[in-house]
């Protein structure tokens, strides 16, 4: 059921977050949700080679852009809640990078909204990743991938 009094919740922060706790808060005061889809993006260790990821971001625009994407999702799907949390700064392998939670009374709406938000966030949210390797030889910017651009085609009617 769409709750017209609420909009998406977007947070950009350097500190880590507790997925379990946020998930609990998102569902505790509503017994009519039905479906909760959670996406957690974690920092991969790239086969043990990665020391850390450094996420540069455009403060202000990062929040504004994710909010714009989330509001489009909110307008398109019957959602109760849509939460997006994105970290910046130095992130160690295994740590959280991003969290998206979509709640709805409809399972597919929750899946699609979360997937949509992630696809757009990947290519439109102003974050840039730099990899710091354990052997210290190089620190390279992660390239954007065509695959991420192509993922957007799925949503061209939205």
């Amino acid at each position: 059921m769409t709750n017209d009094t609420k909009g998406p919740i977007v947070r950009i922060q350097s500190e880590d977050f507790d997925t379990a706790q946020i998930l609990q808060q998102a569902t505790k005061d509503n017994s009519n949700i039905g479906a909760v889809v959670t996406f957690t993006g974690l920092c991969r260790d790239e086969g043990g080679k990665l020391a850390a990821l450094e996420l540069e971001h455009y403060a202000g625009m990062a929040e504004a852009e994710i909010t714009r994407i989330a509001e489009r999702a909110f307008a398109h799907w019957p959602l109760d809640q849509l939460i997006a949390i994105h970290r910046h700064g130095k992130i160690a392998p295994g740590e959280n990078i991003v969290l998206v939670i979509a709640t709805s009374s409809h399972r597919q709406a929750a899946f699609e909204a979360a997937s949509y938000l992630m696809d757009f966030l990947k290519t439109k949210a102003p974050f840039w990743k730099k990899e710091h390797l354990i052997d210290g030889t190089s620190s390279d910017w992660v390239d954007a991938t065509d695959k991420d651009d192509e993922a957007l085609n799925r949503w061209k009617d939205i």
């Binding site: 840039w128 910017w141 954007a144």
Partner: protein, 84 residues
């Protein structure tokens, strides 16, 4: 005009932001970029890959390089994003 640089574009320019008066010919995103590249080697190097440069006007993406800069107070230049 406030100009911001991010990621490897920032590294190539050598700093992350500046406050600058645009010349009269920089009316659109396209003419602004042409002028930027003429400012020196580091700018030309930072902005050489035309397809790779993304631009935001007042914190909104601009995909149309014929966009006017009138009324804009903040321009950001950056490579394709890799969030998420």
């Amino acid at each position: 005009m406030k100009i911001l640089y991010f990621a490897w574009i920032r590294e190539r320019v050598g700093f992350s932001q500046e406050e600058i008066d645009l010349p009269p010919q920089a009316q659109t995103v396209e003419t602004f970029l042409t002028w930027m590249k003429s400012r020196g080697e580091e700018f030309d190097y930072a902005l050489e890959k035309d397809g790779a440069v993304r631009i935001a006007l007042d914190q909104e993406h601009c995909n149309d390089f014929s966009c006017s800069l009138e009324g804009v107070s903040e321009i950001a230049l950056f490579p394709p994003m890799t969030g998420g």
